[in-house]
Amino acid sequence: MLFEIVHSTDYRYSAPSSEAYLEVRLSPPARPGLEVVSHEIDISPEARTSSYVDYFGNLTTFYSMTLRHDRLTVTNRLTVRNHPRTCPKQALATSIAESRQIFSSALPDVFDFLQPTAAVPTGGTATEWARRYLKGDRPLGEALEQLNRAVYERFAYRPGSTDVNTPLAIVWKKREGVCQDFAHVLLSILRTGGIPARYVCGYIESEPPSVETSGGRRLVGSLATHAWVEVLVPGLEWVAMDPTNNQWCGQQHVAVAVGRDFDEAAPVRGTFKGSGKQTMKVRVSMKRLAEKG
């Protein structure tokens, strides 16, 4: 499937800012099945940018603006072709106990994705869930699918019910949230259960051009960025699943940044100096293009 995506982040200040710095993680990572046809990041006001690859492998753009300005806009324009993914059947057929064994032999490399972070604490209620859904003798793939469904079913998707600072404990208690919270809940259970997993920030096609092609469902997400989870499976390959939409990620998901949690995978992170207040608006549009020929 061919997609054209425009993602804009617009900061406005009540009083001009004298210095602003941004780190932008908006470049789709190289991965099988995802073909980047064109990509550009525009930041206004214009200034020199430079980039680097961060700890989690995200191509990150650094921007500094030291002249007075009252508005700052980041626009990500992306055309990608997403091919169907092959599922690592053999890895998913491995039992959870054996998977854990494999991970522990690669501990220095997978350690980060087993640890709690400030946004994703482990233990607590997650322990019961991990015990129930991640039993040692179960095949990994089946267990993951069941766990993903359980999160989808037992938590209510309610836009506006949480914000970026809502602690996970509140989400557990209220059993509602947005895609970010669904991803954090799933991460917390997986890590508690000894399965390495990471957070993905990206785009989702929520309104397919015709109902038939998407299997008759509209997907939740869009207007802003979407979030889901990638699980490490034996063979140290990442497999993506979307608890907000109860499915393995497919051609309608386009990843741009990964990390251990929302904070590390934030697509735009900035800091400003100025006396005024700042407001931010995010808008994402994702359109399917017809393939020529």
Binding site: E40, I43, P108
Partner: protein
């Protein structure tokens, strides 16, 4: 000599006395000297030592509530002595550890071989809160993480030396080590001449040379980054920067532009190549670490990554100081060096490990329990067995987060004799020793230490917990020739003038503006109170009132703020002492004092003394607006008079005692701009009611003009200049353009441009721009024909009077001088627009 009452519940090594009660080797001559003196003489030496510390400005602030500099550093009369043999062990042991931990850090932030080979457990290393993922793949300064490090050393009960804590990432305390030596050398100089000990006064030079050698640039710019005067050890930061001759900067002084770090100074942006940081990793860059940090420099880590700047010690070094890694030190030394550890490690138990936790909890009163980093103590640490209540409280904190704590036996540290207050008393002690990196891969230890002792006020040795200290002597061995002793007075390096940072200049600028504003408001309130005492006839009164109400408060912007009624004593009292009134004398003075406080390192002690006296007087006066009117009037008068005396006194004192560099200059520029703005604002606001009144009585006009001049403290000046009755045109001339009248707008503006030009030898675009703008404004004022602007009697009045319009346009231009100064010298908008090459196109990567 034994102290009455035991100093501890644990068996500790005695540093100063042998089993038989006789002084150990090196201490004998000192004891003999101190014992031969009468007690009163010892006490007076002790007092002199304390006074010396105070005079040198050495402080260590443990309490946040107390203002800056309130707690002088305590140094004991009796030094700690290390023999040459003991020192050999300490020195070799510390260098060995630093070499091993340097390899450890490089490994953990790259290939992680020690973890892959399972030589140490992964959890405490990669799970440490001090393991910085951002440090992976980041170039370490000069290829190494650790360049200037410290470690705490203690004695085990058998007298052997052991490492208690690592301060590898942050060697805090070097200045205190040096200041102890300076102070003791002043108070008991003869003892130094009799003992062959190593000098330590070159430490800052050694550090500076080490820092400079890291860069490939021939003359790299080095700065010391401090969290600011809010830090307990700010006095150390400012001492080290002064001694090294490098700028002491805060995060806000630095700026990232085109992937390089710049220091904002009043003469423009200066590239910075090396940063010696005393701000720890989590606060260093809000883009990478804590987002709420205001102490750091956004984008700094990116500049390190791009190789344009080095930050010492390397980011991520704090991992080496995580106490849960202490028990792993022997493995780490063996793994990387293949050597046996020279120095023992004080037994340390990480409570994140179940077995270790169980062991500690079974005898918890034997232990000192601390977090993984920092000086806070949760249990023990005072040499006493805790009672059940203390244990319960500590466990309530520890058990839910056990992995964040370690335990070490209380039976460490040594007993020593302290002569605080002239009386020998037994205290507990430990030592912090310091080392710096030399050449490729080795370290050298400064031959001295910060010996920390418990005191009468604090049972803890840590300075953060109120402990005291001792000068520490390292004896030169027999085979070595004695070196020259440390001079009691050493010269600070001389800073080149261009190092005045924009932040310092900005604080000075606002200090000047706020003080001038406070002085004006206080002057007006004072004069009104005085007039109220005088017998005014009702006509005079009716003519005075509108004048007061129009020009008070003289806020800097036009038309801002509400007009207060200051015709009542309570209104004037509020304008003097109400902290809820943003324009009140007290609010303005507190803001001035806050600015002064942020640049205390650049203010003379005398000038700071005046400011703190002013602030304290206003702070300590209780705000009681419901008292009798007479009481309120008297209080307003008293306080306003006080402000009117102290503010000029501050400027006078500062002129006498301050280096006339760019920083101070901005205080005067602020004062001038504020005064010009107040004059211009006052004149503009009275033009309509005063000079174009509806009734044309000359007498009424003169009363009004006289009142107006009195409020601006200019009636006597007017009389001296004109020796005639007060009339509109001469008044306008006097206040706008008279070059001699102290508050005329022209005089203030010329004062500004003179100060802007005098310091900068080379004309910068910012200076040129500001001076040109001021010149043109001065010309516009001087060429104004006031007579021609006055209304013609009998003629029809135009809707908008030409005089008022002209005054307002001049006022606007006066106020815009602030933006020029601000953009040109303080926030560098002018400079950057000038310097920046046409911006490159944003990242457009077709992948």
């Amino acid at each position: 000599m034994r102290s009455s009452g035991r100093a501890t519940d644990f068996p500790l090594w005695n540093e100063t006395f042998a089993e038989d009660g006789s002084p150990r080797g090196g201490y004998r001559p000192l004891f003999e000297r101190l014992h031969s003196m009468p007690r009163s003489r010892v006490r007076s030496l002790d007092e002199r030592l304390e006074a010396t510390m105070r005079e040198m400005g050495v402080t260590f602030d443990v309490s946040r509530e107390r203002p800056w500099g309130s707690r002088p550093w305590f140094c004991d009369l009796m030094p700690q002595i290390f023999t040459a043999e003991e020192w050999e062990t300490i020195s070799a042991g510390l260098c060995q550890r630093l070499r091993a931990f340097e390899f450890f850090l490089r490994d953990v932030y790259s290939g992680k071989s020690i973890l892959r080979e399972e030589q140490v457990p992964i959890q405490p290393v990669l799970g440490s809160p001090f393991f910085q993922r951002a440090a992976s793949g980041l170039p370490a300064p000069g290829g190494a993480y650790l360049h200037l490090s410290g470690a705490a050393i203690c004695r085990l009960p058998d007298g052997s030396l052991a490492v208690k804590h690592h301060y590898f990432s942050n060697a805090s305390g070097i200045s205190y080590m040096m200041q102890n030596r300076r102070a003791l050398a002043r108070v008991i100089p003869q003892s130094f001449h009799e003992s062959a000990i190593h000098p330590i006064s070159d430490a800052p030079i050694d550090i500076l040379e080490m820092l400079r050698s890291l860069s490939g640039v021939s003359d790299p710019a080095v700065v010391l980054l401090t969290p600011g005067p809010g830090s307990a050890v700010f006095s150390e930061h400012s001492f080290l920067a002064r001694r090294m001759g490098i700028p002491l900067v805060q995060g806000g002084d630095l700026l990232v532009l085109n992937d390089a770090v710049y220091l904002k100074t009043v003469s423009g942006l200066q590239r910075v190549e090396i940063i010696y940081t005393r701000v720890s990793d989590p606060w260093l860059d809000p883009m990478v670490f804590r987002r709420d940090s205001l102490l750091g420099v956004p984008g700094l880590v990116h500049c390190i990554r791009k190789g344009t700047v080095m930050v010492v010690n390397g980011i991520g070094s704090q991992l080496a100081d995580d106490r849960s890694l202490l028990p792993l030190a022997p493995q780490i030394i063996r793994y990387y060096l293949g050597e046996r550890p020279i120095l023992k490690t004080l037994p340390t138990f990480w409570l994140g490990d179940l077995d270790q936790k169980e062991m500690v909890l079974s005898d918890v009163s034997d232990y000192t329990i601390r977090p993984l980093y920092g000086e806070r103590i949760v249990l023990g640490g005072d040499g006493r067995r805790p009672d059940a209540k203390q244990i319960d409280a500590a466990l309530a904190e520890i058990l839910p987060n056990a992995s964040q704590f370690v335990a070490q036996p209380q039976a460490c540290d040594a007993l020593t004799v302290s002569f605080g207050n002239g009386k020998p008393t037994l205290r507990r002690q430990d030592h912090i020793v310091f080392a710096w990196r030399v050449g490729e891969g080795d370290y050298e230890v400064f031959p001295g230490a910060l010996t920390r002792i418990s005191t009468e006020q604090s049972p803890y040795t840590a300075s953060e917990l109120g402990g005291g200290s001792k000068d520490t002597w390292v004896y030169v061995g027999f085979e070595n020739d004695p070196e020259l002793p440390d001079a009691p007075r050493a010269q600070d390096a001389i800073l080149p003038a261009q190092h005045v940072t924009s932040r310092v200049a900005e604080s000075f600028y606002w200090l000047g503006r706020y003080l001038e504003r406070a002085s004006n408001v206080a002057g007006m309130v004072g004069i009104i109170e005085l007039l109220e005492l005088e017998e005014l006839n009702p006509t005079e009164r009716t003519h005075y009132r509108p004048v007061w109400n129009t020009i008070l408060p003289p806020l800097e912007g036009t038309g801002t703020g509400s007009r207060r009624t200051i015709s009542s004593p309570v209104g004037r009292y509020r304008l003097t002492l109400d902290t809820a009134e943003p324009g009140s004398v007290v609010s303005t003075i507190l803001r001035a004092a806050a600015n002064a406080e942020s640049v205390t390192e650049a203010l003379s002690l005398e000038a700071w003394g005046v400011i703190s006296q002013l602030r304290d007087r206003f702070r300590s006066t209780r705000f009681q607006p419901h008292a009798e009117p007479e009481t309120l009037a008297a209080a307003s008068r008293r306080l306003c008079d006080f402000a009117r005396q102290l503010i000029p006194q501050f400027f006078g004192t500062a002129e006498y005692t301050m280096v006339a560099d760019g920083g101070w200059k901005f205080c005067e520029i602020g004062q001038m701009i504020e005064r010009a703005a107040i004059t211009a604002n006052a004149v503009s606001s009275i033009v309509k009611p005063l000079l174009e009144p509806d009734d044309e009585s000359d007498h009424a006009m003169e009363i009004r003009l006289s009142a107006f001049l009195r409020l601006l403290n200019s009636r006597d000046v007017y009389r001296r200049v004109y020796q005639a009755r007060i009339e509109p045109v001469p008044l306008l001339d006097l206040l706008w353009k008279n070059p001699m009248a102290p508050r005329s707008v022209v005089r203030c503006l010329l004062g500004c441009s003179q100060r802007l030009t005098e310091s900068s030898g080379s004309a910068s675009p910012a200076v040129e721009r500001s001076v040109a703008a001021i010149d043109s404004l001065v010309h516009a004022i001087q060429s104004t024909d006031w007579e021609g602007l006055l209304p013609v009697p009998g003629a029809d009045k135009p809707k908008k009077s030409p005089l008022a319009a002209h005054c307002e346009s001049l006022l606007e231009r006066v106020l815009s001088i602030h933006d020029l100064v601000s953009d040109g010298f303080l926030n560098h908008q002018v400079h950057m627009r000038h310097e920046i090459q046409p911006p490159l196109p944003g990242l457009k990567n077709a992948l």
